[in-house]
Symmetry: C4
Subunit: 371 residues, 4 copies
């Protein structure tokens, strides 16, 4: 198999990211659908992410001269063609045989940043080669779950550096996996042949013998969960900037800055960890206020429209990440589907900017939010 | 074919504007329905227009002597029998073979103002003749999209003046067409024989060659979008008052007044351009506050009931425009259907005035709004 | 036919007022159902009446000694067994052959006040006889639409006085009938044999010739609508207290008191006149504030539960009226159905009082409302 | 029959408490389902209990060291393994042949407190034996309806003390049973062989002859309802702490403390007594504020998720009770089902604590509530 993904036709009538979701629902089996689409518990937070963006209204402006405007944004010392990145999503070959290869190809072609999941089903080096070959590409980052084995983690970081990844994104909001009821109801399991190949060789965690009435959570699982000390350790073994993904509290944002984080990703893990967390659109401006203007702040969760991107920028984000939508694009039409998803968002963002009278994203301050 | 539209029976059970919509949905094909009924993206703004009027409550008053009251309103130097105008809607022959002729006939018979769309499917002169022949008619205005070709635009204005149009309505909120997903999902296209006949002879826009990574929006499309300078230019070539349609920000309203606009139409294009804009009922009082009492202010968007008209007046509008409803009336029963829609609104407005204790629309100040 | 209504079994599973509505929906034909159940326009106010009561929460109290408590209330110089009256509803023989006779019988047996509609389908004298014969009966009032013919109106008042009616309820909120779309959609008309028998002999209104562009509403219909002067006139020709039904504004409440009204009924006509009026539960406390403690204030609109009755009292009402629910009881089981409806409300009211720690309705002040 | 309940398999796809409800709905007949699932009147309060917890959002914290944390809580002089108790529910053999025996077995095995209903279908001594035999058990309490016969009540209390119950829970919010429409619509009655066996031998209440127009509620039913004086009397005849269940007002909470109550249970009886009472989640913090830090406060009503438990603690509760969910677990799989319900709640609580950065429940103060 070549590394260039197949060209597939776009399904007719798919003109928005939600159309991609509906179409993918029909294509994926229940097992894969439950994994990619599900959230924690009653999925209140997952829905809240969406409704929060929808509830924000935009102020349009008319008759301004916007010729020569653009969507470029400066970020971590580089210039992005636009502020849309692909969030880390695990097990992408479960959605499409081309998996992360197709995603990487589409991201690079569309100038979108790519964040590869630790639990990717493709060797991280193969993904990097795809992205780095494309001149118009966006940034290439590696998402890291700190593993219980420090030696293995260190080796993983070394591989990512060597392969050309430009930042590490440490997911800090999932010391335990959430109660993902939809997955559990479907009896989700990884299909044969799908595996987190970059974790091959990870030694199994040491079994902990619990006394009666000890807690599996507090006395076993959490003994290997990362802490602020691990973030320090990580920064000591890498030259890459470290972004923390999953910050939802002002105090944690300040702690992240104090710990030297290269950036903050406001995220509730797409509503997949703890249900009834607030929507990211609600938390985002508080985080920006807490850390001030200099620190890179990104956001994900429920971004489905170009208007959502504009709102995120206006609320203080430098850029946004989308997760499920590109996964559904992948399921629908491989690389072409991912590409289509990014393109739709970009086009919608440009329309939103034009109608709100913003020539650049620097113009997209809080004045575009109708109050 | 004569210019007098056929008399058609009203469908039974159609007693409100929403009934007209439901009935038209069954009569129109998907292509036409998607065009006339659809809004931008998720149609949040389109629905918000409706729910905003519904959410405003009215204070009724009892036992007042209202004999001799009326619905007349003074506006741009003329007296209207009532404050209801027909908003510009394109391609009306797609709804009914009589198209704009039927609409003009009904408007004139019912004393409603008529605003002809640039994209009408009937020569503007034919429409004017219908209207100007009717003694009880309302005002006759021409809606203008400023075209990329100034010569052509100048000629269009000259034709409108010569034909007897009394004002120009420049739509300023659509430098690009919105992401109208419903249309795109339906694969909307103009049926054979339906065309914007008044734009015949418009030279094609000059093709712009884009460098890679230039933006189709900012570097091509917006290069011909109108700006405040074009409004000035337009006023220099016409003796007609120029109203600006699509103002949703106080600052733009003030700029419009400074630019000598003859009036302002608060409009979000019926929710067809940018989704998640605020409802016009919410923006209207701010615009009135911004420009003060002397400037004509109209509003459209979601007006479906006589109570909505009364609320609009109470919030500061001089008059209102309705769009989709008369189009659906047209689809249902040609001129009779349009006439019925206007009549329903007028009757409901009179009931609302009577029950709120308003003998005239001057009585319909903010006291009729329950707070 | 005897004047004693037949005993009919209660339908099984009907244990609440809303159950009566659902059951009646299945029994009544579309014509009658549209008349009795419908409201104005989109029925927003009709629904708001209900949701407003539901949205008010009650504070319960425990372990109080409530032995010997009761639901009695003093009102217009008499003591009612409980604060529930039957609102005037027209054309009751359309719901059940026994019509107003059955209603009167049930009201009297249950100690509920009875307000007979001007548009009753039974001679007012027959109804009075039924009620006055019952020792445990509630008050007997006559609802009056002031007719265009003063002589006829005077004679109607004389008949009511003579028959033993104890107050006049003048409906002031319907100078024109509202746009009752549900009725119009159903093509409602009175069935053969159903007529407003007490208006027999009313001379037809004088035809008014309208000039073109005159208004049917302002120049014809409203010329005979009652004004404050007519209320004065009415009080001059009767010894009965005059209550005004349909007051929804504090200023009108004050005007009513100044005009010597014997009481005020806060009502939006069950949402049947002007849509998007506020719910009566919202207006009631303002009216009580406006008129102070001495003036009798009643309320109707959406009362369906004993908790609603308690809330109304706590918001300042002396008593409540119910309309549609007893009409549905009538349709379901004649006098037994009406009786059942009243009994359900009384029982629920007693439960609500007991659980809120109220031995009497005087205890039901604003403290029972959870804030 | 042995007293050890049978081991039954858990139904597949049941991964949450609401899944248990849905599954039980399919297993129970209408009669039992109406009793266990129904609430008062329109069930507004029953639903509000749920939506109130859902509407509270949680603030997550990251990268804290939580090793060695636990869910233990000190309460009435003992240490609970976790803050989850089983609320008193009547007639459990109607859900499963093992009835209260299965419930007691599961509660004891899972370390959950057990509150046996006065209306249990199993002798209270049998239940106590099950619980007291299990070393890891939670507290064992007896719920008491004060009966009209004081001698019988005294004997019931003596039996409970002798059997080893450690507290009495007096339900004070149900002097009359509510209008439980769902039950009445289903024509609910106790099936043959199901009885409140611990009330066997209770002499019937003395019949009260009512004069016409006396009230069944105030002049009969309420004459035997408990008052504050009865609480005093009860404390005089028992050495057990007395908790009052059904307090929803700050003043009643203060009266309870003044009366020497050993604790307060904030409860609206699961929405089964008076509809439109506020949700317990709304009332809870007011009660805690009213009584201060020292008094044990528990809450029930709509607790369905571990996040709800954490929120209850953060709002001031020491522990929570669940009712319907374990009953549905019982219906689904006997003791295994009850056990599963408790286990799900505990696991979810631990996840919630971990993600909110709480090592212990003492950390779960109001800071975990997103404001």
């Amino acid at each position: 198999m070549s590394n260039v993904p197949a060209v597939e036709p776009m399904p007719p009538g798919v003109v928005s990211l939600e159309d991609h979701a509906a179409h993918a629902h029909a294509r994926l089996d229940d097992n894969a659908w439950s994994y990619f689409s599900g959230g924690a518990a009653d999925e209140i937070t997952m829905r809240a992410n969406r409704t929060a963006w929808d509830a924000i209204t935009l102020s349009t402006r008319v008759l301004r001269n916007l010729v020569g405007g653009h969507t470029r944004v400066n970020f971590l010392g580089t210039t992005l063609a636009h502020p849309i990145l692909l969030a880390p999503v695990a097990f992408q070959r479960m959605a499409h045989p081309d998996g992360e290869i197709a995603t990487a190809f589409a991201a690079a072609m569309q100038g979108a940043g790519m964040v590869l999941s630790t639990q990717a089903t493709t060797p991280l080096e193969d993904v990097a080669r795809i992205v780095l070959n494309e001149p118009g590409r966006g940034p290439l980052w590696f998402q890291l779950y700190l593993q219980h084995d420090r030696g293995f983690t260190r080796e993983l970081v070394r591989r990512a550096e060597e392969a050309g990844y430009e930042a590490l994104v440490v997911t800090v909001d999932a010391p335990s996996s959430g109660a993902r009821d939809r997955e559990r109801r479907a009896g989700f399991q990884l299909p044969p042949g799908i595996a987190a190949v970059n974790l091959a060789g990870l030694p199994p965690a040491q079994a902990i013998e619990l006394h009666p009435y000890q807690s599996r959570m507090f006395d076993a699982l959490l003994t290997t969960a990362p802490t602020w000390a691990d973030i320090e350790w990580l920064q000591g073994i890498t030259r890459l900037p470290v972004l923390l993904k999953g910050i939802m509290h002002e105090d944690d944002a300040r702690l992240a800055v104090d710990a030297g984080a290269g950036g903050i990703i406001v995220s509730n893990h797409g509503g997949r960890t703890l249900d009834t967390m607030p929507a990211t659109a609600v938390v985002l401006p508080r985080i920006r206020d807490a850390v001030g203007a200099g620190v890179p702040v990104l956001v994900d969760g429920g971004i489905r429209r170009g208007t959502d991107v504009l709102k995120a920028i206006a609320l203080g984000a430098d850029a946004v990440l989308v997760g499920r939508p590109y996964l559904f694009g992948l399921a629908n039409a491989g690389a072409m589907g991912v590409s289509h998803v990014i393109r739709l968002l970009r086009d919608e963002l440009e329309i939103a900017m034009a109608l709100c009278g913003c020539a650049t994203l620097a113009d997209a301050n809080s004045d575009v939010l109708f109050k």
